[in-house]
């Protein structure tokens, strides 16, 4: 198992390299020139001399392969360059904003699991009856509603009309409620529906019928034979939802003026801040790969078959 984890961690290196190269090339293939964006943000007329000056200052006048090589050599020493927008080291900025995003994402993930599991269980246990219908209706709305729209609806309801919660910013627990809900609702709804379907599928398996035939109490059948098998798709989905939660944070942080890495990345994208985009993509790749690894470890723990496969590998 340890060997498997080490192998997976080693795999991070070539994947990150490939991603960095791909992102670097894609960013520079675009028709826009970051030097022009820099001048626009600075309210400096883009004369030829001014553009040449900025291109030289930002290192954009070098051939692309040379730019990448310089970037890579520095990145290996954890120097991801200076943000065109803030003028600060990129890694410093991203690490400054990361805790706020992790707080939001972590709470949204906890919320997702906290609500998705009971809702999925409720719907599956009382399939075809009113709790099932209610859960399906709620989760249908949750899946269909874009998070940015939900965010504005929440602000309108809880801040404008009721005045219960602060609309924007970070600092008090009340400021967490709406952004967490806006990010978590879709993942929560998907997971609840997935768990319901998975539970229903597992409860129709022959070994469950056999367990019931043996006269096992219903609670034991559910706990030992249905739930155990139904967890697996949920674990996979949860791993995938980490990416969705971070993706959701990009929009939600902007709406709620939440000082997180998502909002910082959005402003970098809008202003062609290449060093930030490059570093953010790598950070996200690493984070998602680690999440996938964590999911696989959970899988191995829950399912002896995959554990044995992992050992064989």
């Amino acid at each position: 198992m340890l060997r498997y984890i080490l192998l997976r961690l080693l795999l991070l290196v070539p994947v990150m390299l490939a991603v960095s190269l791909l992102v670097f090339v894609l960013l520079h293939l675009g028709s826009t020139d970051p030097a022009l964006d820099y001048l626009r943000l600075s309210h400096i007329p883009p004369t030829d001399a001014a553009v040449a000056e900025v291109r030289q200052a930002l290192g954009l006048d070098l051939p692309l392969y040379q730019q990448y090589w310089i970037w890579l050599c520095k990145a290996l020493q954890l120097d991801f360059g200076i943000s065109y927008l803030t003028g600060r080291p990129v890694l410093d900025d991203l690490l400054y904003y990361l805790p706020a995003t992790l707080q939001l994402g972590g709470l949204a993930l906890a919320c997702t699991l906290l609500f998705a599991v009971p809702l999925g269980l409720l719907a599956a246990r009382w399939q075809g009856r009113w709790p099932d219908h209610a859960v399906r209706a709620v989760t249908f709305i949750g899946v269909s509603m874009p998070n940015f729209w939900l965010a504005f609806l929440l602000i309108a309801l809880f801040s404008l009309w009721l005045g219960w919660l602060p609309a924007l910013g970070r600092g008090s627990p009340g400021q967490l409620v709406m952004p967490v809900l806006a990010i978590a609702l879709m993942s929560m709804s998907i997971n609840a529906r997935l768990l319901r379907a998975s539970l229903l599928e597992a409860s129709g398996q022959r070994h469950v019928t056999y367990a019931r035939a043996r006269g096992l109490p219903e609670r034991r059948v559910w706990r030992g034979h249905i739930l155990r098998n139904a967890w697996l798709p949920l674990v996979t989905a949860t791993g995938m939802h980490v990416g969705e939660l971070i993706g959701g944070a990009l929009v939600i942080e902007t709406i709620f003026a939440w000082p997180g890495v998502g909002r910082f990345a959005v402003s970098a994208v809008l202003n062609r801040d290449f060093p930030v985009m490059q570093c953010f993509t790598l950070l996200l790749t690493g984070l998602l790969m680690l999440c996938n690894l964590l999911v696989d470890i959970c899988y191995a723990w829950l399912d002896p078959r995959s554990r044995l496969q992992g050992v064989d590998a």
Binding site: S31, T32, D33, P34, L36, D37, Y38, L39, R40, L41, S42, H43, I44, P45, P46, T47, D48, A49, A50, V51, E53, Y84, L85, T86, G87, D93, Y96, Y97, A100, F152, I155, A156, S159, L160, G163, P166, A167, L168, G169, R170, T254, I255, F256, A257, P259, G260, R263, F264, V266, S267, L270, R272
Partner: protein, 520 residues
């Protein structure tokens, strides 16, 4: 050693007590809460992005200040004298001015700042004055002399700009903004806010507010909600702080609102060097074919005055009484017919000698406003038999196309006060500007450029006015631009703020003039 450590400890406690008392005194004064899409930046007096100009204008002051009338008034310089040859400017500095750290602002400090600009002139050469300035002298404590290589009449205007010719304390540490302005930045939390308090040494009247808290709110809709929920007190600016429809909605809900005088011109530049728009008749038809008032009423919610000329008449040298291109589709059609652009029966697009009357209109794809305007232009001009193809591009690509002249028509607003008209007109001479590229097809382009060079070096106001009359009249008659509306700054506030005023440029917000409402 022990004794000195004890003394040091006492001194530190004393300092802490004084600091906390000062901080308490400031906190006790009312706070004005404003918002901006990003943090104010490190606030170097000569810095560009990420330094925000509204914040630089709060902390740093110019020698002379630009007024809403398009003139300059004494500021850190109480008076000035220009030599007869227009090459030497002698300023008498205001007495008793101090930086926010208590050090005096004198000619030596001013010279140190201007020398720093000259030392890094490559970075600042976009400003004509920097390339024109030969040297700076400080013969005594209150006298500052600027020696130019050649006469340059907009010298005072350019000294009034927010950057790079304002003054920071020469001995301030990097990243510590120390200016002479009414405010000092005391705290900045990345992604959250910037806090400004009064400059205790300010030479003018102390602001009524004790501090200005500027929250970082990037999204315009969130900003509107923040005003509605009382998380901010004021929305003000000319950089699209909120959309026109949101402004109207909040105004109708009872928020106090105001619009500034014209600060710049929202306009389209027409390419005289490429395609069908080389023909003056086509450019004139475009100007006559657009119902600007209807466009302003329906798309801009009537918030901006209609623009009939490239510069608003309230700008220096721009009140020339030029005859506007009236909305007259019939006249436009007649002029096109006369120029040989015929609409053959059954066709929807005019043509001349086999060349269809097609024009590419380039706009910023991320701007809902430009998209709406472009679609209306397309519809209106189609009625005249013009085929307008719309090209949505990113912001960087828009600037690229402006620089390369890769457009039929393109959105190209003027730079606004205090750059208009002199800096804007000056840029028309340089390849790489949308205006140069738009004008390069004119037969008298060379003559225009010579006139612009002359007007900038002119020392006689009468002659200058004549040169401007020629330049602006020619551009108007040649229909190089479609002025749409005059951009204004908007202001919305909760009833806790009084005496809200607009700055005289696009970039400053005069917080120091605002007062807390008496009712609160």
């Amino acid at each position: 050693m022990k004794q000195s450590s004890g003394t040091l400890k006492s001194a530190l406690w004393g300092l802490l007590l004084v600091t906390s008392l000062c901080a308490h005194a400031d906190r006790a004064a009312p706070t004005l809460v404003y918002s901006w899409p990003v943090n104010a930046g490190p606030l170097d007096p000569r810095g560009y992005a990420p330094d925000q100009m509204y914040a630089q204008a709060m902390v740093y002051e110019p020698l002379v200040r630009y007024t809403a009338a398009g003139t300059v008034e004494p500021w850190l310089a109480s008076s000035w004298h220009v030599s007869d040859d227009g090459k030497t400017y002698t300023f008498t500095l205001r007495d008793g001015v101090r930086f926010s750290d208590g050090t005096p602002f004198d000619a030596a400090a001013a010279k140190a700042n201007l020398d720093a600009v000259l030392a890094n002139s490559k970075r600042h050469r976009w400003l004509e004055l920097v390339t024109t300035l030969e040297r700076v002298e400080a013969p005594d404590r209150r006298t500052l002399q600027l020696f130019l290589k050649h006469p340059y009449y907009p010298t005072l205007m350019e000294l009034a700009q927010v950057r790079p010719l304002r003054f920071g304390a020469p001995l301030a540490k990097p990243g510590e903004p120390v200016g002479t302005g009414p405010w000092q930045r005391v705290e900045s939390r990345l992604g959250e806010f910037d806090r400004f308090t009064r400059n205790p040494y300010y030479w003018g009247a102390q602001p009524a507010y004790g501090e200005v808290l500027v929250k970082v709110i990037p999204d315009p809709n969130s900003r509107a909600l923040a005003l509605q929920t009382g998380q901010i007190d004021l929305i003000q600016g000319a950089a699209g702080e909120i959309t026109a429809s949101t402004f109207v909605r909040l105004r109708d809900q009872g928020f106090a609102s105001a619009l500034s005088a014209p600060l710049a011109t929202r306009s389209l530049a027409i390419n005289t060097g490429r395609g069908a728009t080389r023909d003056l008749a086509v450019r004139r038809a475009i100007n006559h074919g657009l119902n600007k008032q209807a466009i302003i009423d329906n798309i801009l919610y009537g918030l901006e005055p209609r623009a009939d000329t490239l510069f608003a008449p309230n700008l220096p040298y721009a009140d020339l009484g030029l005859a506007p291109y009236a909305y007259d589709p019939a006249l436009a059609a007649r002029e096109l017919d006369a120029a040989g652009w015929q609409l053959v029966p059954g066709a929807s697009v005019r043509s001349k000698g086999g060349e269809p009357l097609a024009v590419e209109l380039v706009f910023l794809g991320t701007s809902a406003l430009q998209k709406s305007l472009a679609e209306v232009f397309q519809g209106e001009l189609a009625k005249l038999g013009m085929q307008i193809s719309l090209r949505a591009v990113e912001e960087g690509a828009l600037v690229s196309r402006q620089r390369e002249g890769d457009f039929g028509m393109i959105f190209a607003d003027t730079w606004g006060a205090p750059y208009d008209p002199h800096s804007f007109v000056s840029s028309m001479r340089y390849p790489g500007h949308a205006d140069y590229m738009a004008q390069r097809g004119l037969a008298i382009k060379d003559q225009l450029d010579q006139r612009i060079t002359k007007v900038l070096a002119s020392t006689d106001p009468q002659q200058r006015a004549e040169q401007y009359r020629f330049i602006l009249t020619t551009l108007h008659e040649q229909a190089v631009y479609v002025p749409i509306s005059y951009l204004t700054a908007i202001s919305l506030r909760r009833d806790v703020v009084d005496h809200v005023q607009f700055g005289s440029t696009l970039f400053d917000v005069p917080f120091e003039a605002m007062t807390p409402s008496q009712e609160h």
